[in-house]
């Protein structure tokens, strides 16, 4: 399983191109602090890479969630909507945000691998 990372601190697990999983990174949730609210996109809606697809809020601040790649939303994490702290406790797992059907799998090539992302967060 390969995970790709965006400069906007989202991760994509595209093991299944028809339902690639997107969430925010461990680094992102750490910077945000305690997540108290998420706004998730509508299932069936199509977004281009870089579009705002949702919002994640801590007590202190609100941050947009960007589409790391283009695609159609096929599922959102209702458990996260009900319990936003999953984004803190398990950001790379149970705290996923949505799944999308990739429009163009080649866009994944524009994202970083884990090592490159780790360097990016330290820069």
């Amino acid at each position: 399983m390969t995970i790709h990372f965006s400069k906007d601190h989202e991760w994509v697990d595209a093991s299944n191109a028809a339902a690639a999983i997107v969430g925010i990174t461990t680094h992102a949730q750490d910077a945000l602090g305690d997540v108290v609210f998420v706004d998730l996109p509508e299932v069936g809606k199509t977004y281009a890479a870089g579009d705002v697809a949702g919002v994640v809020e801590s007590v202190k601040a609100a941050s947009d969630v960007y589409m790391p790649v283009s695609g159609e939303i096929v599922e959102v994490n209702e458990a996260l909507r009900a319990n936003p702290s999953l984004a803190n406790s398990d950001p790379m797992g149970a705290g996923w945000f949505f799944k999308l059907k990739l429009s163009d799998a080649s866009e994944l090539g524009g994202l970083m691998n884990e090592a490159a992302y780790t360097d990016f967060t330290k820069a």
Binding site: G33, D34, V36, F37, D39, V55, E57, S58, V59, K60, A62
Partner: protein, 375 residues
């Protein structure tokens, strides 16, 4: 253009050691949160005791035979009637009746007042105070002093063993104390809605005192993030958000801070900047175009500062000035401004959040019952 270098407080090394996340605030590098995180820090303060570094705030002494009368020319509050040993909330006003800053003042002696002002306003405040009353009073700033706040229901249990006698203080009183040979000035007050203390300490002893407090089992370090969520639950204004130089005290729902002696018919009515306008607004609230209110969202969506408020026909009626998901109440709360006709508790308005209406209801403040020690 490079940013000007940030100032540091006497606790900078301690914050680093504790793993604080530091942010620029009021020209200082300040801890916004520690590793426990905002939510845990907030709930710890409400249940036990939290230690806050508020050394960025301005501390000053105003002394002189006419100090009380002179301060009454700057503020609409009763200074002359304040007893020695007591503290009061004050408002510095501009000549249009707008709020330059809000502050706490303490009468240490008949002719000596200890004043604490907001960090972000202190340079301007001190210049203003000097310009207006330096001819009548001696004004001395205290840049070599740190300020610690110890807040929460267990604050007294944490402080009394170190500084015997503080338990005898009641809310909005204070006194000089000594800790290991160091002079402290302690008031029983704060900015969280909880019982607690504010401790003025010589800067070179601030870290040692903070370490002694943190060694108490009740005490954890608390950052500015939780300080903000605590004060908002307590319904307290943040200068620069909820009040500013364009807001008058009646608009800000701060009439309670204008005692009878300074109101129309009082023994020292008026005589403060903007008095004519402010006293007219108190006498005739119909003159107000907006009023500060508390708001609670009816959906679990945080509504933040600058969010517009709309009436039932979609017309813009006001704005949110502070808002967040309240950690103790576990629901979104806010302060904001609405026309007086929409300011009654229970009135519904819509906040527009990312293009979607979020229903809000005007609510009484404080949002949580305060836990002050009134003796």
């Amino acid at each position: 253009m490079s940013e000007p270098a940030l100032l540091t407080t006497p606790l900078a090394a301690l914050h680093h050691e504790l793993g604080a996340r530091m942010v620029p605030f009021a020209g200082y590098s300040m801890p916004v949160q520690y590793p426990a995180g905002l939510m845990a820090e907030h709930l710890h303060t409400r249940a036990h005791a939290g230690l806050f570094d508020v050394s960025h705030m301005g501390q000053l002494m105003v002394r002189g035979a006419g100090a009380a009368a002179a301060l009454e020319t700057l503020m609409p509050v009763d200074v002359q009637g304040l007893a020695v040993g007591r503290q009061r909330y004050g408002l510095l006003l501009n000549d249009a009746g707008g709020i330059i800053d809000d502050l706490m003042f303490f009468r240490q002696e008949e002719n000596a007042f200890f004043i604490i002002v907001n960090g972000a306003c202190k340079v301007g405040d001190i210049a203003h105070i000097r310009e207006r009353i330096a001819a009548r009073c001696n004004i001395e700033t205290m840049p070599d002093h740190g300020l610690l706040a110890l807040q929460g229901p267990e604050a007294v249990a944490a402080l009394e063993p170190l500084v015997p006698g503080v338990a005898r203080l009641v809310f909005m009183s204070g006194a000089h104390f000594t800790w290991q040979g160091t002079p402290l000035f302690i008031t029983r007050s704060g900015y969280t809605g909880e019982d607690g203390f504010e401790i003025s300490v010589p800067g070179n002893k601030a870290e040692a005192l903070a370490r002694a407090l943190l060694a108490q089992p009740q005490v954890q370090p608390i950052g500015l993030g939780a300080r903000n969520s605590l004060r908002l639950e307590a319904g307290l204004c943040l200068y620069g958000n909820d009040i500013d130089a364009t807001t008058t005290p009646p608009e800000a729902a701060l009439n309670w801070a204008i005692q009878k002696a300074r109101r129309t018919g009082g023994e020292r009515a008026g005589g403060f900047p903007g008095a004519e306008k402010i006293l007219a607004q108190i006498t005739n609230p119909a003159l107000l175009e907006r009023k500060r209110v508390g708001l609670v969202a009816l959906e679990r969506v945080p509504v933040r500062e600058h969010t517009g408020l709309y009436g039932e026909n979609g017309e813009k009626v006001g704005v949110v000035t502070s808002g967040l998901l309240a950690p103790t109440l576990d629901k979104p709360i806010a302060l904001g401004y609405l026309p007086p006709a929409l300011a009654a508790v229970g009135t519904r308005v819509n906040a527009m959040v990312r293009g979607k209406p979020v229903p809000m209801e005007v609510a009484a403040t404080p949002f949580l019952p305060p836990n002050y020690h009134r003796g």
